[in-house]
Symmetry: C2
Subunit: 246 residues, 2 copies
Amino acid sequence: MSVTTLHRPAHRDALGLLERAFGDGRMVTAFGRCTVEYDGRASSSLGPGDRLVICKPDGTVLVHTDESREPVNWQPPGCTHRASVRDGRLRIRSERSSPDERLDVAFERLEQVTAYEVTDRSDLTLTGSEEDLRQRILDDPSLVEPGFEPTATERETAAGPVDVFGEDDAGRPVIVELKRRRVGPSAASQLRRYVEAVDAEFPDSGVRGILVAPSVTDRAASLLEELDLAFVPVAPPEEDADGGGE
Amino acid sequence: MSVTTLHRPAHRDALGLLERAFGDGRMVTAFGRCTVEYDGRASSSLGPGDRLVICKPDGTVLVHTDESREPVNWQPPGCTHRASVRDGRLRIRSERSSPDERLDVAFERLEQVTAYEVTDRSDLTLTGSEEDLRQRILDDPSLVEPGFEPTATERETAAGPVDVFGEDDAGRPVIVELKRRRVGPSAASQLRRYVEAVDAEFPDSGVRGILVAPSVTDRAASLLEELDLAFVPVAPPEEDADGGGE
DNA sequence: CATTTGATGTCGGAT
DNA sequence: ATCCGACGTCAAATG
């Protein structure tokens, strides 16, 4: 059976299903009125309300309300779940160490508990990432500027790895920092740190820094100018402009 | 009825439930073997597999596998969901504009569909945030250094708002940058931008920058030294050190 | 709207 | 394990 559901279960029955599901690696959802306590990197307390709780076999817990993409409370992968009944409430506790963190959900009313068998899986293929932008630059370095010649990607510097490293037509070292979307001041600072690091490696070589992104904010533009860094606009990856459909 | 569940429903029945649930603002979960296509800020394609799909009345869609805290695909709040049946598959489409984004889930096997009525809600109270750290500093400025006197929080500068602004015992302007956890080089850069901005406001006033955080990485430490910025360690917010019984 | 920054960010990769 | 930067980051506060 791929899905097992209990509707308004007795605690005893819900507990049994949860323990079996946790034991054999099934994913679980529980819905009902509950409170949630979290303690770890921070601490939080959530009063009674209707929430959907998801427990994954990898140790993840998600507590979702009917709003927002983000869970109101959660536990990351690697935790261990336990279910129990105390004070007439069904409880789900999920813990981990390093860092020590603990999440407690206590249901005062449990509407439904479901266990899912997840067998099939496929991988996601994503396009439009910074990696794609780098590939575009490597395919056509003149997108950065005529005469630019990439010599390395992810080149290590004292300030961290540089996206694309190369030389301009005058033989000067060029550091290219890629961003897939409009950037703020922090990207300029980041680029500047790289330039300084490489400048220390090759004193007086005239190291240049070029930020490649769709666009920059005003503040970032000022900062780039002040730091003597260049900005090269690149169009964001083409939408499949297939007006399509309907 | 607070929860409505259909087990291995006919498409027609599932469609009806989805349309009703979308119409009257209920939250929905659907589990089964499906493919997912996304196009918007990036594009992605997800082959057939077992996933839990959550549609919220605020326009959120989450597609979860049995691993990871993060949905493998999603749509943020503000989208509009529609359900349909085409090519013998139950489909859920969620779209929004600005930016134009579209998510399509197509079930080739639908194990269960559930609609939830979410009524109750409470607010989360969280402690241990940067805001808490600021409050601690303001309560006891000597945590930064003896003689430090805060004069403003979120003080505006050309580089953005400064966490805590004040004066040291010699009357020099002090910029305090707070971080709730161990910091890397970017925090040092950020602080440096603030210092430069304030230095431009008060030339030759000897503006100082102090980073307050639990700890810093080696690279950040070097950078701080190089930039002539100070670091003051603060213990992370106390865990309720109630060793507590097992 | 756009900008900026924090987050229990999470995640993946490299050391 | 720590460090580092990307992310379809998200979400809130602010102009």
